[in-house]
Symmetry: D2
């Protein structure tokens, strides 16, 4: 697994331990949330960083996964697993790499998290922008986010999140989540969920007005996470049922400059940041690898019955939080740089 | 307004009357839905088409809007209208074109519709793919789409849609929509809504597996439509509350080849089409230009009160249907061509 | 004919009369050098400029050629003219636009010259860079440029060039060129030649180190001019016969900073500008449209004899000078902007 | 050192031993031609190839150079070596990696050669195209290529080339080259030279007509090789002194289809291949690292005297032959694929 980061200015200080630690954090230790395969993802710089600073050339980072055993997958090599990309890859390419670790694997996310950490270093040099993502739904258990656009997270929620290995913001919510996970684990079943992200202190003016709209670039990146099925910005799906007079946010002058009285628009107008808090949520389908026996087809078209063995994740959503943050940071870093071009 | 289409193979027959007619259809005549400015969008070919065929060079199409009078906007030139991009453009560029017809105007969609028509010609040469979009929500009036993924539109719905100038699929739904529109028009207010799209007979294998996933490319395009606030594919936001065993679609062999028994995945797995029906919905915020008096700021930071005069749309959603179709067609044409590269 | 310029910052003042005048200068009036077809190239802004300033959106410029009559070309529509792209277009696309004005026509250069003028406005805001191109060979008549890398043009050469409608730098050279042209015109034949370009006061550090090397980007652009057959930078082809000790330029400190004692390298090292004078030359083949009768093939493979009627250019090289300048300016403007990213 | 190859279709058989062998051949063993640092370039596949076949995902290849010792360069870390990119990198980025192995090093070419080998596999599946490059000048010793465009290499020249570790085509030429090298080596000096390339059996129609002209893409790639100072196609610089009637190639019908009687155009018209033999030459400056003592500046602007120790190449031109072939193959593979789009 590797990643090539192009376009990063020279002279940016990179703390490779922070990068390694971000990649490590991607893997949680508890059995219900994480893959039981113990991965050791050692981050190695191939080019672009010298004496802890970027030198202006493409940054190539390699992440070696020491524990991927291809043998584990042999029993599935001729079968189209329901909900997986086996069938579509076979149709598209006429062949496929049936081992774990391909492009549709969760493991491909390690380099993205590494790139996100570097992007965040650049963001903090160019601005004071902060990106925070957290789990707001697991299965049918939902955390209420209705006042987030206006107020952001409370101090208590932030504190709880800092220590939460499931990226939750409340103990009460965690209790319900744990019960739900426990129940579903017993069934050998899996759960989806929702992640909500807020971006604070992004300057006004970020985003490109036609095909590079801020929400469009974020949507593309977020929909690239394999199990994401929906994305909504600001009021999102609720906006469809609002009246114009309810949704419009009036401008007013505050100490720090032009601001909006309310924040239904979620920090973006015309594809460009307004300087208000940005808020969006993404929805995940449940993991496809379930313990229950399923009927499907082999590559030869024969009906077969499969049972996916081993310890499984019940829910991948908590694990996706650093990936969401990484995608957001990569896009924001790029747009903040691009914005240097916007006017003379 | 213009558009440059690059990468279209030579030898594609283009019926310019069909292109003109697609651009014309974008404008509906009824007062409640459409802008009262009567536009005449004359499509003109600048390059790339010779004797009704593409010649392999970039196709440049110009659409002259005869009726855009800049004078109409003079009273708004120093004001940040709530919900509009006036403020963000000013912040980003330090200046802006305050006349109607800029990048955030609905009028920019005429060239996209023209390009969509050409893309569709190419799609039909390369496949039998059909894209159908229709309005499934206006304000709080909602059309039930729960069986669409499995069954598609009924014959009656298709027939109704063909003649519907509001791009609806049922007379009963239209009656409720008309009542809602009537009521809101009286208030001088506006409404949002939802459009649902189904893509049928797209071959399996379309979409690129990492950053060019089919749903990611569609999401980027659809989120580029200015008033869109959410997009969902397949089960969408409902997928977050489903169990793996409920969401997984088992593969089975049908006469026409490998198929899935159910269609919760909505025709895409791993970013690549499965050959099943693709379904997605997008959600629109209400139009920002309302008749009600609003408080806002001038460019100098003074608090001002504005009333936006003239006849206004109550709801832009029906008008967005051809634009949604056009974006989908442009992406599908590109991906179908790209797929020629996928395997030897 | 049109051009879309993307990525130009907002707030750049554009004098459209200067753009029109640059496009006009591209056409010289004298019969031996110019096409006899009198062209009127009216430059029209479609988007991106408002109240004489760029607004940050793509700048679309249209140039309407009022005098292109397709009828003139009817006798050549089924024939592969020697030295022209008729055959290769037919092979590539299966059909072609046989009228004048296609992609291989000199007329396609009008939009490039317009874009070059806008690029130059941006260059002058970002730097003091000056690009000067002039004819240094017509047929066998050659102007000596051996001291140009060190000294640039003399004051007299600059003065002469400013008034030369053939873009020459010396009266003596012009006399010889005129005699050569006169002789070849009588034969009904055509001539090639050479253009030399010097770029002065380009800051050190411009160019991208791997695939975007300054000389590589310039070479690509210059080799895109249809009749260019060779390009050389600095000592060029002579460098191949030099020893390392002869070619190396030692660094020394001057008032204005680090400099090289000599300028064999021609202002570029490792793909990046050194701050020294950049010098390069490009070589043109003679125009393919000659009056002499030629044997060739029709599209059906029959041997035919053709005579290309009408008044012809003897030599297109003087006319290519503004095009060379435009390409250079477009690349420099882009690289100067990109360089804002190079370091923090 | 690594390379990522994107866009290669799935199902292409890759012989990794052939790739390793191509990378090995890049290093010649004799002291006068090669760097004395003994490199072991072990080629490793990171992704994109499974069971000896491409799978449609980006192919990432890593080449580990076991012998690069950063310590060797410590005495040069604060000095701007004449003719090197030390100064321009410092100006552009404000810092640089002073160790050997950076972007301006010859070692960066190993991944390009590996990519070229894979590209060539694809070319041979799509066509019968053969690319042959050979040294035609070392210092002042020149090999005559005047009939190459018409006749290609003779059987004897091909046989000699196959066994030549200096990529020469004649024993007589080799003798003169060896004498020249010997003389210059004694001086502690270096030499430039020329490489000529012929491409045979490339189908007509390859190349993109405006900004992607075949010669323009080749020129960009070839000018990316650090010591290349000029490139010429077909008659090249001689074309500037030819008359139209001398340069034009008349079309005629041969058994295999439309052909030209002569080959002054060098196989490309209007940026697109004609099917005739393509021929071009590139000119190299002498290597900058000479044994002779040179005066230069340190980073602090102090005048210093440097002597570059160790065994040096006298001439890098023979070593550049596989790199030239690799660049050509990468471009041709891409254009042959792209051409699948050209017409319906």
């Amino acid at each position: 697994m590797g990643v090539v980061i192009d376009g990063c200015p020279a002279g940016l200080e990179i703390d490779m331990e922070a990068v390694q630690s971000a990649v490590d954090r991607r893997k949680t230790g508890q059995h219900n949330f994480s893959s039981a395969r113990k991965e050791e993802d050692a981050v190695e710089i191939i080019s672009g960083i010298f004496e802890q600073k970027t030198i202006g050339s493409p940054i190539c980072i390699l992440i070696k996964n020491k524990d991927a055993r291809s043998g584990d997958y042999d029993n599935l090599k001729d079968v189209f697993r329901p909900g997986h990309a086996d069938f579509t890859y076979q149709k598209k390419y006429g062949l496929r790499d049936y081992r774990g670790g391909g492009r549709s694997s969760i493991r491909i996310t390690a380099p993205i998290v590494a790139a996100g950490e570097i992007a965040n270093r650049l963001i903090l040099v160019l601005s004071k922008t902060e990106t925070t993502s957290f789990v707001t739904q697991i299965g049918k258990v939902i955390y209420n986010v209705s006042s987030l656009a206006e107020n952001g997270l409370s101090k208590e929620e932030k504190t709880f999140l800092a220590d939460s290995n499931k990226n939750l913001v409340s103990a009460d919510f965690e209790k319900k989540v744990d019960a739900e996970i426990e129940k579903i684990a017993t069934e050998g079943n899996t759960l989806g969920g929702k992640i909500t992200t807020i971006i604070e202190k992004l300057p006004a003016g970020i985003g490109e007005p036609i095909f590079g709209k801020l929400q469009a670039q974020l949507a593309q990146a977020l929909m690239s996470i394999n199990t994401v099925k929906a994305v909504e910005f600001g009021e999102g799906i609720h906006a469809a049922a609002m009246k114009g007079s309810e949704h419009n946010d009036e401008f007013e002058m505050k100490d720090e400059g032009v601001s909006t009285k309310t924040n239904h628009h979620g920090g973006i107008l015309g594809g460009i940041s307004t300087g208000e808090r940005i808020i969006f949520s993404i929805y995940f389908k449940p993991i496809s690898s379930i313990k229950k026996t399923q009927q499907t087809l082999s590559e030869n078209g024969e009906t077969v019955t499969i049972t996916i063995e081993g310890r499984h994740d019940v829910c991948a959503v908590p694990r996706a939080v650093p990936i969401v943050n990484a995608y957001v940071q990569i896009i924001l870093a790029d747009l903040l740089l691009q914005n240097r071009y916007a006017k003379l």
